[in-house]
Amino acid sequence: MKKVIVSTLLALAALFLLPSCNKDVIRFFDLEIALDESDFADGVPSPDSYTVTFTNTNTGEVTEFETQTKSVSVDQLLEGVYDVVATARYSLYNYLGTAKAVVISSSDALTSLKIKASKSSSLVFKEVFYSCSRTPSNAMYLKDNFFEVYNNGSEAVYVDGLCIATTSNYSSSSINFADENGYMVDTEGNATYMKADDYVVLNGIIWQIPGDGKTYLLNPGESFVIASYATDHTAEDKNPNSIDLSSAEFETVCDNYITNGQVDNPDSDNMILLNPAQATITKQYMPSVLNAGFILFAPSAPVENATLVANYASGKVSGTYTPVLRSDVLDGINWVKNSTALGWLPEDIDAGKTFVSGTYVNESIVRVKEGSSEAGDPVYKDTNNSANDFEVSTKPEIRRDTKKASWAK
């Protein structure tokens, strides 16, 4: 009986939906995408396999493929807008190919993906706690964020002079740093002849590790912690739900923060505040709990002397930003509010994005362990794609599975 009714229903439907035929029908496409390794320098090996992900930017759904060949075949991909990312890791190299916001509306919408190879940085963010937490009375607690940096390589590295900072939002339609010739413009609107694609611009203040160049040696398997406030946050007068960061090697502290209640921890070395763009100093250091592009970089020239640049969207000069060479960037992470939010960083720094379940949820992002070194130290995944490289922990923890830094007190 039901079948008869449904059939009648559909026949009638066909009749009075006639005007809407042949429009807006759901479409799927088969794709064959070559993974183009032609830009590899001499001596760079070809990886055994690639992981290729298609992230639908409207639904957040991710379709993942593994391929042992130099191409990837996709059957029946739903029409839409996709971020396509191919990653691999082999020997000392990371391999990355990206195509952002590709409109898949035909089978030849994307036929090739240029792969770039770069030597793995040994220094990576191992755990980042940006979401902050809540007190037992459900008040938001903003002071307990931290960044843990790990030596993921096989050589010891001095970390003196390394910097951390938040970048501008490269996904925003109202942000553009290239003029018609591809150069950045200074704050007066003049061409700087610095190619926009060679730089990533910073938004706000920068924190730099002190030292004379040979002060802080980080051995393989060791990590150090940069806390916004290196104190025991679990104290009764703070937030028993939080974490003890009193052993952090560094803290971000300045006069303005001390005026607003932060107590300088003498056992934790203070980061150096750099503010070439003259950004407003707030009450405490707290990167966004929602969306950020966050980088670790080793400046090849003093940041204070950088030529400041401006946003040049729609040909109008606005804002003041600090440019950093992309080749100076050691690691970068997009953290975003959810699966459909766009990442802030250029895709060659982070081709993916990661997110926790909300704000002030006491959750951190933790780099995925992919093996161990000959010395028995953990080796963490580093494909420049935070969607693959990080997972969420509901219990933030410093120096999880890692050794303290050689200089740690």
């Binding site: 449904v6 229903l9 839409g80 339609s173 942000i175 553009n176 959810n338 909300g358 704000t359």
Partner: protein
Amino acid sequence: MGKIKKYTLSLAFGLVPLIVAAQGDAYLSSYRQTWLLSRNAAGLDAAPFEFANTAQLLYSHQDGDYHLMQQPQTDSQFSFDTQGAASIGKIRLWGSFEYDNHHSSGSRYNTLLYDPFDENYIYNVADTTSSDFNRQSYSMAFKAAAPLGRSLHLGLSMLYRDRISAKQNDPRSESVSYLVNLAPSIVYSFSSRSSLGLALGYGHGLERSVPTLSNSSQMQNVFVLKGLGNYVEDMVGSGGINIMYYTTDRAEASVQYSIDNASLHFLSEALYTLSHTALREDYSQPRDIGSSSVNDLQLNSYLVLERERSLHRLALKALLRITEGTEFSTKQVTGVGWQVVSKAIMSRYNTLQADLRYDCFLTEGDSYRWQFSSGLDYTLKDDEYLSPQSEFSYSAVGAQVQARRQFLLGSSSLAWIGTSARVRKALGSLYSYSGVRSESRVVKEWYPHDLSIYASDYLTLALDLGYSHTLKEGISLGVKASAKYLASSSAGSRCFIDAGVFLEF
């Protein structure tokens, strides 16, 4: 929009002082007015113009576990409605005004909308918080008809509706909406007292829903729904979802055939309505999310036979609804904003409803002493989401019987008591979901719960009472109350009560 509202109010209230003689028993009178049930205002001029003018103030309350997830556990409602008719020269006028004020609690999975069950709004936002909801609605309708020569009649009907709702717990919202509908019509009367009518209509509406937080420090997770368990995660709060604008345009066309004489009133109407609602987020950086097209084909027929001491009415109503949900793929372009790059129909919801009802009144003069009613109804819902393939369907049949006795108390008062029973039998139900959200609360909690409501059999028993007193000739004041209890086979129960005062004049 303000001008339209002002003029509509003036027309609706302007009718009240024009209302003339009493029309006898309003309840019985309403059964004869078949043209008023149609979309064709011109028909008011093509049949006897006998209307009862009424006004009533009602309080209603319902409570119980038997409710869909987006329906409240408890709901209290105050409502006022009035309607009246008048003739000015050759022009016949009818107008109505309704006001509803709801306070409900215990509903979930609706963050924004006044009416989440309206298939014009299949792209909604949901959250898991159990919340109170306040809703108010004003609705004004107006019909006018006039002859044009001996056989032609022209008519115009207009509807204005204004609604506001506010969710009371984070993530909360305030939603305001309006709908305007205009329908000119024409009727041609044959000499045999039969008539043929045609009405065309256009409507436009907007619902503006503002998601907000009372505690701005705590962002709230929400689901931007796409249908049958498919959704996109988002948040309410700084950086989260923006103001949602639902813009509706609707067109309708209907034809009517009617026969009216002293002992027989017959009207049959075929009505097609196409309603298209587009959802856009944030007008400053607009992003088109999707649209829904609701196609309604309705066939309604009424046959009223009047005998010396009885009145019989047979009503058949059938609805075929096909709703298509179209999702937009958008891309952010530097310096331009969000651009729609493709559209795809991802949802198709089918509804079939048929309702047959027979009423028999044993009459005495303008009033009745007994009413016996019976009815049968059938519902089939068959909803599909195309990729990932998901399905939600159910079907059910229902039957009801009713009896009511009206007593004359002296020469100026009357009272009634009535009772009714309804039984519904579910015939089948299914929910299947094949996407990546299979562990989400939307898929594991919401849809299974709602399916259990649709899939359960139930029995309702109801009792209604009333009393009215004639204050002077043609003006009666009365009170009425009713209670209903619903017991389902597997999904709990629900109680309904209402009480109010009414005036016939």
